[in-house]
Symmetry: D2
Subunit: 308 residues, 4 copies
């Protein structure tokens, strides 16, 4: 099996290899300039803050279907331990084991490869068991702060939650832009809401996972044209799953991460943000979504916050 | 052994139990109002961003002396795995095990207790092995974004790194305020730089841990008087270690976390920020330091970012 | 709610507290004397060895219903790493995270408590987050080698697998003894086969877990009368589940572990052993089932072997 | 760099590839026949049992020098939790994270490779991040029970502990055989005692690790000539470390595991066994040393027991 011509055609059109030099490891995050950040700060009007991470807990979004992507196992290593003797100040400490892609997370550019390559044309073999991602690990983007724009596709469609078979297209994105009264600009981080999180919040983890609405294979070209810095949404798979084209699995991942060098976020909870943006009548805001700097990580949990 | 009168005297003066109601679980973070955040956003002048987290890696700051507080063990669970068949898009996934207080972190208010109590007078026994912190877990502060102020005590003293025996006093903080040309305000997050991180960055983990400069037992009253929202610094122990008063261990933890209900941050890397603030001639900035929402966690890794 | 009189009546009859002294931490394992072991060795006739552990893998018997009891997450930390330079001998290393009771395991005597007590009348509060079981941890039995006897209740009933509602009674055990042509003796380790493992081996993890045949609340008295050293079986819950007496949960655990001080084994794979014993016409053998000595552990994975 | 001719010469002489067929995955363990096991059982004279595993605890033998090989982190996931309601039987559960080679362990045949090959000539690339060892994983030896022989080199030399620079030679092994009054036979598991464990037991972890006495590069030929089934010793590195031949690292690992297909055990505590054998005047015994069946594991913790 190999990837179809259709995929390779799009890949050529969105490819950013070399655009920021042969040494670049962060791709479209280069588009977040100081000026973009100044303008992001200027969008803050009310000071209202909306967190976008799901709780980190063993009853997380993973169902066990993806091998090794384990929900957080949180354990206490000491509780009210009077480590300096009886009657002294007592300490509690905890530890966690979790998959870096298990919860609300960023995929690093190295989370997928295709045809033996990762972003910027480097060999996929630079990811090793010992060191993880030798290039473009999640520790490489030093900061992710920019203007965020919520494209609330579900709300723009007049629904709480898109159908499981709904591939979000460029037309959907533009309709949501119009609904928001905001134009996506270079360096923006775009949050695409499908409403799928409602299944998880209602206790239906399997329904959340599959079938899932998500981004169409046609969206990478749209993001590329707008020079978006990163995209996140409120699904487990990011892209529509099962896929639009039979036997073409994870094409959006391959186009966004490998070809374009654009970070993807998954399992972001956009429900409260949807309410807040509707309340305020404003779909752009300052967004801080700092990766935890796992050296060589191909992903990271993230606790994003929108500041309206 | 019991805590000395001197401790209890200060405790009375800084106690905030009931100040935000009997149900409150977040303490001084209540001081970060929408207005404070709007003003924080208004401090952004250049758009320059400075990350404050140390890399997450097995060669982290822990030396093994604190039982159970393990440096991150990062492992790959799959590498370039063609999960949908040969020639398809390939995935890499990773997992981690780590102590929640092992790296750059926030202590939750429940990280310490004394005399059987945690913040707001609740019993320490509400922390359990199964659920962690039943109250005031690190998942309770929904967002931590505010104005940040760097009090660069080392630079104000004209040194790169304070001596191991240097207890940072209110007088030191005020001298650093004056040096910075900034007055700490209600709702600010104060970052106190000792320069101690340089030991770790130079490869001396044991020298970083101990002996360590850090906050004096006299500082909680100063933070209380200024209505500071949270404090972080660049040491393993936060407070001076070994302590100023013989056999009075971790008094600052007990006063800040239990009595005042004020979050503490430790192992923050303030070196680059120190340079940036000196360059810009400005020691206040917007700070985003979102906790990862571990349900019941008594701490969390954090990837803070200062936006100048 | 409190435990019913019926439970307390049996508890009195099987109680072994003080039998081996106030300091004892291993209970009925004291019954395995050197003589018992010599006789166990003398049962070896063919030299055939049968392993009794299920494979340790992420697709293990846990379904996620028991919080925190996670299947093994096996990860590689290095693969063919030439740590001493190119062309040198290359190393592969791995790590695991798992629940100590997740797979084929021994419960330590401390795995359950009731009415605030553990075995030998010690307070349950001697189990702590920092150190685990202060007494009767799984590191305390230094060796578990004895004569094993398979009581193949399923085969004696002429079936492959007992019904989910089948409580294995003393009469069942005696019928299986008779079927085996063996009499259980003091110091023996008794393996009780229900055939329930077949559900797991056939891919039905939920059917394996529940409903499950298992030991009746009447069996502890039988084990006590025979002075059995330990008992293991081929189910997730050991005892019949749901229980025989409404609202009396885990009575067999409480009687065996707390009152009698007798170790229990769960999730043992007795299928091959059942075939081997039937082939050989012999249901007694030497059994080695060494606990991994986790200090303070309340359980341990075990890889038992029967030597026929 | 490549391996020297001297290495390749020995490799040819000890190579067992194909000896048990092209499909074989367990190497010299094939030498443990039913007859060997029957004879092993017949060595049991007193019934005395001696455990050979070091305690599993965070203060284990690892010093942090070997990346990723972490000492056990044991945590409680619930303590006396009344999961079925107040007043019911209460449960305690625990979890662990550890390196599979961190404590008393068996190396799987796949723990090392050289020149791109593992045992039986298979490609080293059959070890993968997702599945671990595709061949010769530690789950493949279904049982390890045989006659054990203690070659107490330290005691035969009249010392408690060999010097750090002492390479244990075939001559040493034969002197220990003579001292023991026992001849090593085909299928035996040989335990070689250097006394090095005493450093660890005395609290000197660094002294235990390095420099370390251990097996000479000349021993694989001796083990091959005797048709030994497996060899374990009481050091961190198994072979003398630093090595006898400059820049030839881990030659014994490569010869034993890759060429001969013979399992190695490390960090075995042979101190009590040394006393017991001296007491009994008998250096052969029954040995059970069952691997935990981690699927694809390149090693496993083991809790061996000698039955005298």
């Amino acid at each position: 099996m190999s990837l179809p011509d259709e995929f390779h055609d799009i890949a050529k059109r969105v490819n950013n290899w070399g655009r920021w030099g042969a040494d670049d490891e962060i791709g479209t995050l280069n588009l977040i300039t100081d000026e973009v950040v100044r303008e992001a700060a200027a969008t803050v009007r009310t000071g209202r803050r909306v967190p976008l991470a799901l709780p980190l807990q063993q009853d997380g979004v993973q169902t066990g279907v993806i091998p090794g992507r384990v929900n957080p196992l949180h354990t206490m290593v000491q509780i009210n331990q009077e480590i300096f003797g009886p009657g002294t100040v007592a300490c509690s400490d905890d530890a966690v084991t979790m998959g870096l892609q298990a919860a609300t997370h960023w995929d690093a550019l190295t989370h997928v490869s295709h045809s033996g390559k990762i972003y910027n044309g480097r060999p996929a073999s630079t990811i090793t068991p010992h060191g993880g991602a030798g290039f473009s690990g999640i520790d490489k983007p030093r900061h992710i702060v920019s203007r965020g724009v919520l494209l609330d596709v579900a709300r723009a469609h007049g629904t709480d939650r898109l159908d499981g078979g709904h591939a979000v297209t460029p037309e959907d994105l533009e309709a949501a832009e119009e609904f928001a009264g905001t134009t996506v600009r270079a360096g923006d981080i775009v949050l695409v809401r499908t409403g799928q999180t409602q299944a998880y919040l209602a206790g239906d983890k399997h329904g959340y996972a599959f079938p899932s609405p998500g981004l169409s294979v046609r969206t990478p070209e749209w993001f590329h044209a707008r020079d978006v810095a990163a995209v996140a949404n409120d699904t487990l798979t990011f892209e529509i799953f099962p896929p639009e084209i039979e036997n073409l699995w994870l094409p959006v991942h391959a186009l966004d991460l490998v070809e374009m060098g654009m970070l993807q976020g998954q399992n972001w909870n956009l429900e409260e943000l949807s309410e807040a943006c509707a309340d305020e009548g404003c779909y752009s805001f300052m967004l801080s979504a700092m990766p935890e700097p796992f050296v060589g990580g191909t992903g990271t949990p993230v606790a994003p916050v929108a500041i309206l």
